[in-house]
């Protein structure tokens, strides 16, 4: 981009655009208020749409002032990021695809460009051309910022939901004083394995559990990555002073483990949850004796 010296010399294209945006803020906002993007998002009143439009024009002028028309990280955008995200999100909720939202954003350029042309009609064609290039770059950057912000909002939302789902899917049950269990159901991918590990270890601390049982009866398959996570969980529990027992290894999974050549050597395993519990109770020195026949109950 050609840079002129500031001072008495003619303004740079970016400065030209900045002055134009300041001068025409009201008119631009008025025109934008009639565009589908603003009309659809600000349904309460036209004034609301005009106000929102002015905020965007101000932000653009600020960015132009900093001479960073092509920089989506320019400070000027900070103030309108949230508003742009809200607008973008509202449009995608209304069922528009990302491309459609993007073209609605692109539609904001022509009305502004027309105003610019009208304003600079008397000037040299070269100056007009440069200013209008700067303007379209600036609006292109705005589009980028809006899309970026909207997408990251959506990303954050799905991340949050995914995490909630992971937590919900990982209940910790206290089986006895000092014994907790996590029954796992469904496929274990590595993200979930990580959550399982953290949940289990936190429960060990909270419940003062010397034993933790990971029951994988409801897990259809175990690949080497998941097996590795299981072993890491066992190793981490041991470092904390707890013992981790893995129960419910179904024959198919046992076969896979052997097949993959995985060494679960350091991991204590038991066939079922009950066996694992019996082992832990025994280790804790607790004995369970069957009640007397005839349902006499405890004595």
């Amino acid at each position: 981009m050609p840079q002129h010296e500031t001072g008495a010399t003619p303004p740079t294209p970016a400065q030209e655009v900045r002055d134009f945006l300041w001068r025409r803020s009201e008119q631009i906002a008025q025109r934008w208020a009639d565009e589908p993007l603003f009309r659809a998002v600000f349904t309460v009143s036209r004034e609301e749409a005009v106000e929102a439009g002015k905020a965007v024009v101000d932000a653009l002028a600020q960015v132009a002032d900093s001479q960073r028309v092509e920089d989506p990280d320019a400070a000027g955008f900070t103030g309108v990021r949230e508003q742009l995200a809200r607008m973008g999100a509202a449009r995608s909720r209304a069922g528009l695809s990302a491309t459609q939202v993007s073209s609605e954003l692109a539609a904001l350029l022509p009305p502004v460009e027309n105003l610019l042309v009208a304003d600079l009609e008397q000037e040299e064609p070269e100056r007009l051309r440069e200013a209008s290039t700067a303007l379209s770059v600036l609006l292109g950057t705005l589009r980028l910022v809006a899309m970026q912000t909207a997408l990251s909002e959506i990303q954050a939302l799905t991340d949050r939901q995914r995490l909630q789902l992971l937590e919900v899917a990982t209940p910790v049950i206290k089986l006895w004083d000092g014994i907790v269990a996590v029954p796992l159901i469904g496929t274990l991918d590595s993200a979930r394995s990580q959550v399982v590990m953290e949940t289990l270890l936190n429960a060990v601390v909270d419940q003062h559990a010397r034993f933790a049982i990971l029951d994988i009866t409801g897990v259809p398959t175990v690949d080497s990555l998941v097996a590795q996570h299981l072993m890491k969980t066992v190793a981490a529990a041991r470092l904390m002073g707890a013992e981790c027992v893995v129960s419910g290894i179904r024959p198919a999974i046992a076969q896979t483990i052997v097949h993959l050549g995985l060494d679960l050597g350091t991991v204590k395993t038991r066939a079922g949850l009950a066996d694992a519990l019996a082992y832990c109770l025994h280790e804790l020195g607790t004995n369970i004796v069957a009640a007397a026949p005839g349902g006499a109950g405890r004595r």
Binding site: Q148, Q155, D159, A191, Q194, V195
Partner: protein, 146 residues
Amino acid sequence: MHTGAGVEARLPIRSDMDLVWVRQHVRQAAAKLGFSLVDQTKLVTAASELARNTLVHGGGGRMEASHVTTGGTDGLRLAFSDSGPGIPDLDRALSDGYTSGGGLGMGLGGARRLVHDFAVETAPGAGTTVRVTSWVSRPPRLRGDV
């Protein structure tokens, strides 16, 4: 290379006291960006390993920390540099069990497993720079092992 901001802190690594500062700084910076407790601990531990390498093998140097963003995700980038003798055999230095002094041979290879992105620049006699980056709220699995 994607950057959102410049270097935000520059810490000298000249003594084991400095290692404590490095750890504290990384802990605070990671907490501020919203890293989970486990991710904070991983990054602080990686920083401690790398800073110790800088001190012990590089004869001292410095750490630069910067906040980076990509696609709306925040990250913390740490660069450890020294002007020491460099690492003659990088592959060997990255393999587990390799150690040229003191530790359990977990320094470089271990640190690599604790971060998302890991890069080393080194040449004999020309010093070493290790750059690591971890990102907030990515899927928990490390992506460093490419």
